[in-house]
């Protein structure tokens, strides 16, 4: 088990946060108030990137889980777990920001819309994933099981989306980039990249912690076996 040590990553973290501050200031200052929503439109630059990053993180979970099942390398398991924790954090943030936006824009904190419901179910699936990791002590068992749960959870998400769409929203027309003024697009894209950098930094940090913990466990086992290290 190779333990990563800080180096260039620290500077990447500093850069990611500086970039986020820059893009958020840019978006707040340059975006004109929307015709219907007024200044509420500014929530776009945190809510939408958070949602994109959520989906991206869970896609990362799926990719590393699949590779773990295929190759069986511990590194992939730890990376999948790190991405799941970061994804769940952004998922919770997305839901809360959506509520803060929904209240003034639609008049309700919550509604049983396809987007909202499936995002909530996604959150619950990955809360279950993280709980499973907490409750399983054996490292190999934890890795195998959470890889399977992560992959199955990812399969379920499009089905949830589809089913709740039929259930409530009756073919609401999807939003698309054409419905957005160019004045908003730049700020949104810049913020999406800032969130992406933050996500990468977080996943890496979480992964470093997990691999340090694993290395500590290995060392403790070695001591218990009378210092017979290879």
């Amino acid at each position: 088990m190779v333990v990563p040590r800080p180096g260039a990553w620290r500077w990447f973290g500093v850069f990611a946060f500086a970039f986020l501050i820059f893009t958020q200031t840019l978006a707040i200052l340059t975006s004109p108030p929307d015709r219907d929503m007024g200044d509420l439109e500014k929530i776009l630059y945190v809510h939408v990137p958070a949602a994109w990053i959520t989906f991206l993180s869970f896609f990362v979970v799926l990719a590393f889980s699949a590779r773990y099942l295929w190759k069986g390398r511990e590194k992939d398991d730890l990376l999948a777990a790190a991405a799941a924790e970061v994804g769940a954090t952004f998922n919770g943030l997305t839901l809360l920001l959506g509520m803060i936006w929904g209240r003034p824009a639609w008049g309700v904190w919550w509604t049983w819309d396809a987007r909202l419901t499936s995002t909530l179910v996604l959150f619950l699936i990955f809360v279950g994933y993280l709980a499973l990791r907490e409750f399983v002590d054996d490292a190999q068992r934890r890795a195998q099981w959470s890889a399977v749960v992560g992959a199955l959870g990812a399969i379920n998400v499009p089905i949830v989306y589809m089913s709740v769409r039929w259930w409530r929203t009756l073919h609401q027309i999807q939003s698309n980039p054409n419905t957005m003024d160019p004045a908003y697009v730049l700020g949104l894209r810049a913020n999406a990249f800032a969130f992406l950098f933050i996500m990468i930094y977080f996943i890496h940090q979480r992964y470093v912690i997990a691999s340090l913990q694993r290395a500590t466990e290995h060392a403790a086992e070695a001591v218990a076996l009378g210092g017979q290290q290879e």
């Binding site: 929503m37 929530i43 290395a215």
Partner: protein, 49 residues
């Protein structure tokens, strides 16, 4: 309009609270994991001798 700003400020504060909160959690976790690792390695070396 002022009421809208309340929601915007709430949204941005929440975002930063979550991101910074998670950052602090990661930093603490990292420091703890590093010291635990160093202790464990010191013990292994002591065991070797």
């Amino acid at each position: 309009m002022t009421r809208n700003w309340t929601f915007v400020i709430a949204a941005y504060s929440l975002t930063w609270a979550v991101i910074l909160g998670y950052l602090v959690r990661l930093h603490r976790g990292r420091r703890r994991a590093e010291s635990a690792y160093d202790t464990a390695m010191a013990e292994t070396r002591a065991g070797d001798r």
